[in-house]
């Protein structure tokens, strides 16, 4: 009791042995990506063309943008099923603005603002009223897309200005599309926020133990509100890209994107129970899903059959480490 321990140097992060890096989730994803890439280039002569590969990226950039924010949300122990409906509502609002004669900057602002507003609405319901997010966002999903249906019915908005087409169809440099550039920049920002800031540490902490966080002085509700707003914001941005790429708005736009974005997040190694995950994993998962769907597309495999591969990929990639661990422990039933 009398001797006080000498102050010790506590490292910021632990030294990771090389073996843990090799057997990490990201390494598994890289291996899968390389495998699919190789299979694709053997299977189709059109695959290894810069423009083909550039087209490939359009398969995942929009969903990937949503998945980045969704990753943080799921790590914090919440979920947002309304993202695709937010895309639809934001797109509908942009369509209304076009009918009123709005220019490109106004359209972008409206798309992003509607997304942010919807996300904040989810966040308010979850944090202020203490409701389970999975149910709240099933409700807002019907509500947001329902509003789009009320406004549009079976009609479609067209006539977006030509300059608006850049976001979804333009190229920054050579084969690098604006969408891809935006996705990579956003991935970098999200990586920094999640893995290099105290905010990111808090997101992990909340996912692991929200009650302990509350007692430790972390403003759990405020951070969750910010995360819901961010997810809405990213959905708004995705809406601008999709609307620009398609050049029209129907209320059924982006149907099913929520499940694909969540699949990306889970495939990327984020625990659906919260508290664990990484942005590089999510980015890799986005690429893998793009590779799978595009490669199969080149082989004339119908979209619905591709979804079998995506579903199998999701379950197998999640199950593989579990089966592997059990086999090593020799207690696989």
């Amino acid at each position: 009791m009398t001797d006080t321990p000498a102050p010790r140097h506590i490292p910021d992060r632990l030294d990771k042995p090389l073996s843990s890096a090799i057997f990490s989730w990201e390494a598994l994803l890289v291996a899968i990506a390389v495998l699919i890439f190789a299979v694709n280039s053997f299977a189709s002569p059109y695959f290894l063309d810069p423009w083909s590969l550039s087209d490939l990226t359009f398969n995942f950039t929009e969903k990937g943008l949503i998945a980045l924010a969704m990753a943080l949300l799921i790590i914090s122990g919440e979920i947002d099923l309304s993202v695709a409906a937010i895309v639809a509502l934001a797109s509908t609002m942009m369509g209304m603005a076009v009918q009123a004669g709005a220019g490109t900057p106004v359209l972008v602002a409206i798309g992003i603002a509607v997304g942010l507003g919807c996300g904040a609405f989810n966040g308010l319901l979850v944090t202020r009223l203490g409701l389970p997010s999975i149910v709240v966002t099933i409700g807002t999903m019907s509500l947001f897309r329902g509003i789009a249906f009320i406004i549009l019915g079976d009609q479609a908005y067209k006539g977006y200005p030509e300059s608006f087409a850049f976001f979804g169809q333009g190229y920054v440099w050579w084969v690098f599309s604006f969408e891809l550039a935006l996705f990579l920049v956003a991935a970098l920002i999200y990586w920094f926020v999640l893995h290099r800031t105290s905010f990111g540490r808090r997101v992990f902490a909340i996912g692991n133990n929200p009650v302990a966080c509350q007692f430790s002085g972390v403003r759990v509700d405020r951070i969750k509100f910010i995360l819901f707003s961010l997810t809405g914001l990213m959905s708004g941005i995705a809406s601008v890209l999709i609307t620009s790429r398609l050049g029209s708005t129907r209320p059924s736009i982006a149907q099913g994107y929520e499940l694909e974005a969540i699949t990306m997040v889970v495939l990327g190694g984020v625990s659906i129970l919260g508290g664990a995950g990484s942005i590089p994993g999510v980015v890799l998962a986005a690429f893998i899903m793009g590779l799978v769907t595009f490669g199969l597309g080149l082989l004339n495999v119908p979209g619905i059959v591709m979804s079998i591969f995506i579903g199998l990929l999701l379950i197998i990639v999640i199950a593989l480490p579990i089966v592997w661990r059990r086999l090593r422990e020799g207690r696989f039933a």
Partner: protein, 325 residues
């Protein structure tokens, strides 16, 4: 606790009566018994699906693959009927139950043996089962003229003034009521939802019970598959696309807690009826059907807000005070 549950359902029932009353002011014929019977019949499939989903949600799990299961099983049964019209309908129903059971058992196995969260498993099988529908059918539809008259008319046959479909729903409701309140498995399902750890100490095999629950929801999905196809007389890959969320919505409106352990057969049935009444009422009171989605969305949010008031767990008082300060 039991009184409390009854209390909630009575409120839901009162809400439904008020809704019917409100609709009657615009369309007097709506509250007519014949029309209400029609609404009940229209909602039958959603009701039995909601019951299957309820069993899953009570164990703190979720089954997102029910609509895809419905689509796949419906297609299998329809193709079987188109190829061999002589197979009697009861046999087809058994086939539907078995196919659904297999699909549910796959979900259950992955949840039980591999400990993968049910939301991940069923998110995967949601796309796999629907994709499999495309594979078995080759993308083709099975149309009304390929189905045998028995196949189509079985559920429409009147018995004691109600169509067979309504009777099937009533039987399923009665079975669920018996199983959930009067059997060991039913009580185990509730126990797991309320406290999984305590359930283990009480000798309940949590994993196995979840497996059984997924088998139940799978069988329900399969049964609904036959009923759906024979009702709308078309089998395609698009059948019931996105319907899994309607099923969950019915459960949520019915007061079934997504956190598990809270909910009742009556709640699930009333929740489904609520959605059924809205979808039946909109056309007759001249509101565009495009409003339906937004209205059910609002109903879900309202239901969650109301449910949450009842569910607020006791305890953690220090934290409550800290939050208030």
């Amino acid at each position: 606790m039991k009184n409390f549950l009854k209390y909630r359902e009575i409120w839901l029932l009162a809400g439904i009566v008020a809704l019917i009353g409100l609709i009657s002011t615009r369309f007097p014929g709506f509250a007519d018994p014949a029309n209400l019977r029609q609404v009940f019949n229209d909602t039958s499939i959603l009701m039995i699906l909601a019951l299957g989903q309820m069993a899953v949600i009570l164990t703190r799990s979720i089954d997102l693959s029910m609509a895809s299961n419905l689509c796949f099983t419906g297609m299998v049964v329809a193709m079987l009927n188109a190829a061999h019209p002589a197979i009697p309908i009861p046999v087809l129903i058994v086939v539907a139950l078995l196919v659904g059971l297999v699909l549910g058992a796959i979900n259950g196995f992955l949840v039980w043996r591999l400990n993968i969260p049910s939301i991940v498993v069923t998110l995967g099988t949601l796309t796999i089962y629907r994709g499999a529908t495309f594979v078995v059918s080759g993308g083709a539809w099975v149309n009304a003229d390929q189905m045998s008259p028995d196949f189509i008319n079985f559920q429409r046959a009147a018995f004691l003034g109600l169509p067979m479909l309504s009777w099937i729903a009533i039987i399923v409701i009665a079975l669920f009521f018996l199983v959930m309140t009067r059997t060991q498995i039913g009580r185990s399902i509730y126990a797991i939802g309320v406290n999984p750890t305590a359930s283990v100490y009480a000798g309940i095999d949590v994993g196995r019970t979840k497996f059984i629950v997924f088998c139940i929801s799978g069988m329900i999905g399969g049964l609904a598959g036959y009923l759906w196809i024979s009702r709308y007389v078309i089998a395609s890959v698009e059948v019931a696309n996105g319907y899994e969320l309607n099923i969950i919505a019915a459960c949520v409106i019915g007061g079934i807690s997504i956190a598990g352990g809270i909910g009742s057969v009556g709640g699930a049935v009333l929740g489904a009826l609520f959605l059924g009444i809205i979808s039946n009422a909109l056309p007759v009171i001249n509101i565009s059907p495009f409003w339906q989605m937004a209205i059910s969305g609002s109903a879900i949010i309202l239901a969650v807000v109301l449910n949450a008031r009842g569910e607020r767990r006791q305890g953690r008082i220090i934290l409550r005070k800290a939050e208030a300060a």
